[in-house]
Amino acid sequence: MAEVSAETRQAHWRKTSTLTYVVLALWFLFGFVVPWFAKELDAASFLGFPLGYYFIVQGSLIIFVLLIVVQNIFQDNIDEEHGVAEE
């Protein structure tokens, strides 16, 4: 396996970091901002649930699962693009 050059490492890590920051921003939105404003969101309704309640008992949880899956797809692409993917 050839040595990975410093430029490749830098470019790979820049993209990886950007992806991570986007994921963390979304995590913060659904983990903290939405639950903080649960009372205000409750004025709306979704599937028969008050919206704020829905996010806390179900919606944010589903988003967390998807967030991990989507991040991993993007990360795999980044790894392949820079020739540092395994297998």
Partner: protein
């Protein structure tokens, strides 16, 4: 001894083995349902459930026995992501999640739901910041990473210390839970039940280490998720709440709100020790103080998730970095199945008790009729439930119905009038949840002490055989100590769990994250971060627990919110004051960040 060849063959047949196992378990369940119809007593069924599942776990533990270092510490790094996801979910979901979570939601309302968000959202942090990089590093334990990244025995020792405190706090609560379940099912005193539980736990982990624990945890996950979902779905169908209740209980939540307004949420005229009446609204966030309590609890639990060694070390067992990432996704999916069921269970159970138009209702009915119900008598008999007509009007009011929060999950099948076989299933599920978590925690402690303290610091010349003997002796010793502490019943289950998360995030979160994400982080910085964070958190806990006062409304469940910022500031300031890490360390961090290439630490070390 079990050879590598046998291990590999087993890994290739996983799908078949566990499918067969699941069918076998369902067949056993059906058999129990049938013998119940023939008049076999509830107690016998409970005992059979417990012994049957324990026998299976013990068999898996025996078949996984090993004398190889990498099999013992990291299951030979051959666990596929799907199965590692199941094992992590079982490792993660403790007796508290299984038994106490729904009851907590029932009584705790909005602020309590911070646990639900916190214990799921933490996995986003695990995936984004930790798991893939730690896997690439190739460590056996979490202190192994700290010790190698920062260098020096002091950093390694600090990490071992935080790990032991956090995990030990947690494991006593789990052994307590296994003792409670064993005591009730087998009708033995709690103090003996604790030792019986410990025996079961050690059967899984002693011979096979991480390999044994991995394959039993997969089996335990299957039992626990069936045991959680079957009663919920059965109850929902029986009571007409829909086939899959998860997506349609919004109406039930709204109806509870109406009923709460009708009955009024008042404290009991005369309290009953150890039991509670419903005083918190089902879901009604009010002030920003409520919101503050919610987000601080969620943050403490999330950061704790990402720093608890028994979870992080599960991601050391996958064959590759990519598989490690994938298995975080599977883990959260399997955890999600239980966590999005718990609020549904709490809501539907509450509605059944509160809504006078339903046959199962208790509140609003005549006291005599309620006292005559069999399930009320059963639980009242053991002091976990009480109905008292305190205002003397002959009707059960909302503040006259007392319950211990823990029993919501256990009593739901009886409230809905389901056959006893369901209760046996639930007991087996609770046992699986508590045992699997206890196993992961005991192994994390014993491995850190045997690998990091004994092998790396005390006796680096020790041969493989000696290392593994030491690891097992420690496992048994720590298990016995934990059982001894558990039998004293010092804290409640949930309090101890939240403390463990806060100890872990105060001491370990930033040294772990910055070790990967900040090349400038130095050894002195990390040591300062671990000591200052852990000390600040612990002192705050001691202060708030003994005086009952709080700062910014941060109670003893959230003391990590004080410890973490102290840890961050100490680590950054001290790192910047000390010379930057040498080129070798910086190259090591670079290497950690890409998936390809050899791991930092050799395959066996």
């Amino acid at each position: 001894m079990n050879t590598q060849a046998q291990g590999t063959r087993f890994v290739d047949r996983l799908g078949k083995v566990y499918a067969l196992y699941t069918l076998g378990f369902l067949a056993f369940f059906a058999l129990m349902a049938i013998i119940e119809q023939f008049g076999v007593g509830a107690r016998t069924i409970g005992v059979l459930f417990l012994l049957f599942t324990l026998a299976i776990y013990a068999t898996i533990g025996w078949l996984s026995r090993t004398m190889q270092v990498d099999a013992y510490y990291v299951a030979g790094r051959e666990v596929p992501s799907l199965y590692n996801g199941m094992a992590t979910a079982a490792d993660w979901m403790s007796g508290a999640s299984f038994v106490a979570l729904a009851g907590g939601i029932y009584f705790g309302g909005y602020p309590y739901l911070g646990f639900v968000i916190g214990w799921t959202g933490g996995y986003v942090l695990v995936n984004a910041l930790m798991a893939p990089y730690l896997r690439k590093f190739g460590c056996y334990t979490v202190p192994d990473f700290i010790g190698t990244r920062y260098g020096g025995n002091l950093a390694r020792f600090c990490a071992v210390f935080v790990l032991v405190v956090a995990s030990f706090t947690y494991v006593t609560a789990q052994i307590n839970a296994t003792g409670t379940i064993a005591a009730r099912a087998l009708d033995i005193p709690f103090e003996i039940g604790v030792w019986f539980g410990l025996l079961g736990i050690l059967l899984c982990s002693m011979l096979g280490g991480m390999r044994g624990v991995t394959w039993t945890q997969v089996a335990q996950y299957i039992v626990l998720i069936i045991a959680y979902l079957v009663p919920l779905i059965w109850m929902s169908n029986e009571q007409g709440f829909g086939i899959i209740p998860h997506f349609g209980y919004g109406d039930a939540a709204l109806r509870i709100k109406e009923l709460e307004a009708e009955y009024g949420l008042q404290p009991a005229a005369e309290a009953v020790a150890g039991l509670r009446v419903l005083t918190t609204p089902h879901f009604d966030p009010q002030t920003s103080l409520d919101s503050w309590k919610f987000v601080t609890l969620a943050l403490a639990m999330m950061a704790g998730t990402a720093s608890l060694p028994h979870i992080l070390m599960r991601y050391f067992t996958t064959p590759s970095v990519r598989q490690a990432r994938k298995s975080v996704g599977w883990s959260l999916f399997f955890i999600f199945l239980l966590y999005f069921s718990a609020p549904a269970l709490a809501t539907l159970t509450k509605l059944q008790l509160l809504d006078p138009t339903l046959a199962t209702a208790v509140v609003g009915k005549a006291v005599e009729d309620v006292m005559a119900l069999e399930w009320i008598q059963n639980w009242a008999h053991v002091g976990m439930l009480a109905v008292q007509d305190q205002n003397g009007d002959g009707i059960v009011q909302l503040n006259e119905f007392f319950m211990r929060p823990d029993i919501v999950v256990l009593a739901t099948p009886e409230i809905a009038g389901l056959p006893y076989v369901i209760s046996g299933l639930v007991a087996a599920g609770g046992m699986a949840a508590a045992m699997s978590t206890a196993d992961g925690l005991l192994l994390a402690i014993a491995n850190a002490l045997s690998h990091d303290l004994y092998y790396k610091i005390i006796d680096p010349q020790a041969d493989t055989r000696r290392r593994l003997v030491v690891a097992r002796v420690l496992l048994v010793g720590i298990g016995a100590l934990a059982a001894l502490v558990a039998s004293l019943q010092l804290t409640g289950i949930l309090g101890a769990v939240a403390w463990a998360f806060c100890f872990a995030n105060s001491g370990l979160f930033f040294p772990l994250v910055l070790g990967i994400w900040w090349k400038r982080a130095t050894r002195e910085g990390a040591i300062a971060g671990m000591i200052a964070g852990f000390a600040a958190g612990s002192i705050y806990l001691w202060w708030t627990y003994t005086t009952g006062e709080t700062w910014l409304s941060l109670d003893h469940l959230r003391f990590g919110i004080v410890g973490m910022p102290v840890s961050l500031v100490a680590m950054v300031v001290v790192s910047l004051m000390t010379p930057e890490p040498d080129a070798e360390t910086q190259a090591m961090v670079d290497e950690t960040r890409i998936p390809t290439g050899d791991s930092i630490l050799a395959e066996t070390h």
